[in-house]
């Protein structure tokens, strides 16, 4: 239980900002305004934001924008960024072709 547990906690109204059109996740072209809006719609964790907006789900898997997204979400929620768990890192470490993955044993008949 912490400041993020009760999803009805009042975080104030969404106030438009001049740089809301700025792209934060370059792979999936997600803007700062979309991320801020999602927080006001109730998405208070990095995992939820990522699943809903796809920021951090592109080719770089969030290596570029993860910190930026965290900062934006934390400011919107008035909490320390340290409170926000990063999204789970997932295999593979970099994109791998299906036929490479498929060829793990000598007996596979493809």
């Amino acid at each position: 239980m912490n400041e993020l547990s009760n999803r009805s906690r009042d975080i104030g109204e969404f106030v438009p900002q001049p740089d809301d059109d700025m792209i934060v996740c370059r792979c999936e072209e997600v803007t700062k305004g979309e991320i801020r809006r999602a927080v006001h719609d109730g998405l208070w964790t990095i995992a939820e934001i990522r699943r809903y907006l796809r920021c951090g789900m592109g080719l770089c898997q969030g290596q570029t924008c993860a910190k930026l997204v965290k900062g934006i979400v934390a400011r919107e929620l008035h909490v320390s960024p340290a409170l926000l768990e990063p999204a789970t890192s997932r295999s593979p470490m970099r994109p791998v072709e299906m036929h490479v993955f498929a060829d793990e044993t000598e007996d596979t008949d493809l």
Partner: protein
Amino acid sequence: MTGDVIVIGAGIIGSASAYYLAKRGYKVIVLEKSDIIGNGGSSRNGGGVRQSGRDPRELPIAMYGINNLWPTLSEELGYDVEYHKKGNLRLGKTEKHLETLKKLADKASACGLDVRMIGPKEVKEINPYLSDEVIGASWCPTDGHANPLKATLAYYMAARRLGVTYITGESVQEIRKVHGRARIVVTNHDTYEGEYIVLAAGYESRRIAGTVGIDIPMVRKLIECLVTEAEPKMFEQMLGTAEADFYGHQTNHGSFVIGGSTGFELYKKDNGTPVNYSDTVPCICRGIIRYIPRLKDAKIVRAWAGWSDNMSDGVPVIDTVSEVPGLVLACGFTGHGFGIAPGVGTVVSQLVAGEEPVCDISGLKYDRFYAKDVAKK
């Protein structure tokens, strides 16, 4: 904290139930063990919204949702859930496969579903990317797929807008009865009270139901999925196979979301966190390449695992409980709950309101489990 209804579990089943209950004017509190909304099977499944291949006992609720709820769900919730109703091919490569598929198709046809067996030529007309090894399929034109991440969160956001209170990080320890009725939910931090309690906590439901003396016979099973980078648009159907080598679809984004199995799903080590096994993604990839050769150069960007709550007889429990008035069960979806979630949420709200469910759920009772010699009678 007190409400009219306490929902345990903020997955798509719990959130859909909360949404339809709030729409009827109930004050709803949803308790979620994880810090993240929809962090179980709801966000980890392959996105199938299908009727074909289902057990006849859960077919009515699947058909109700596809006829009445899914087509307008994005408008209803105010968020795009990426629903596509473009059919489902369940593919076969051998005569034995076709036999399996035909049996399922015949059973579903008997329940009034438009599903039929088609030959290789018609399969190719529907999906030209499939391998020549495919000798037939079952075809259900009203099946489809949606985005489980978005649909789950859309129910949550819509429920929250209607005033539903969500508390995350609350692990339910027990349900307590007051004057013979389920009324109090004790968590690791607090106590909640409601006229009704909806138990939609996936596999955890077994332990929680056990605190009021009800056992739901299920085990958890590790299921793994993968997603490719965005590919040019190829096809819109949902795909599955008789062999269960893989299932999946191409998303709006262009990526392919595909799940599959190795045969060891029930026997993987359980250290408390669902993790990918090194043999599963390769096995799924081989399955895909054998059915859709064109995808062999597609790059996999991510793989993940999740647990499904597998009932001993393969269909969920959606029911009230005569020994525990006030308790409504909605759990044990066995890896195919996503597609029926809108129907389940609707039915749960009806069970709480004391109404006759809008579709037949008589095969999904909590007290249907008997030893095999008794069940056969």
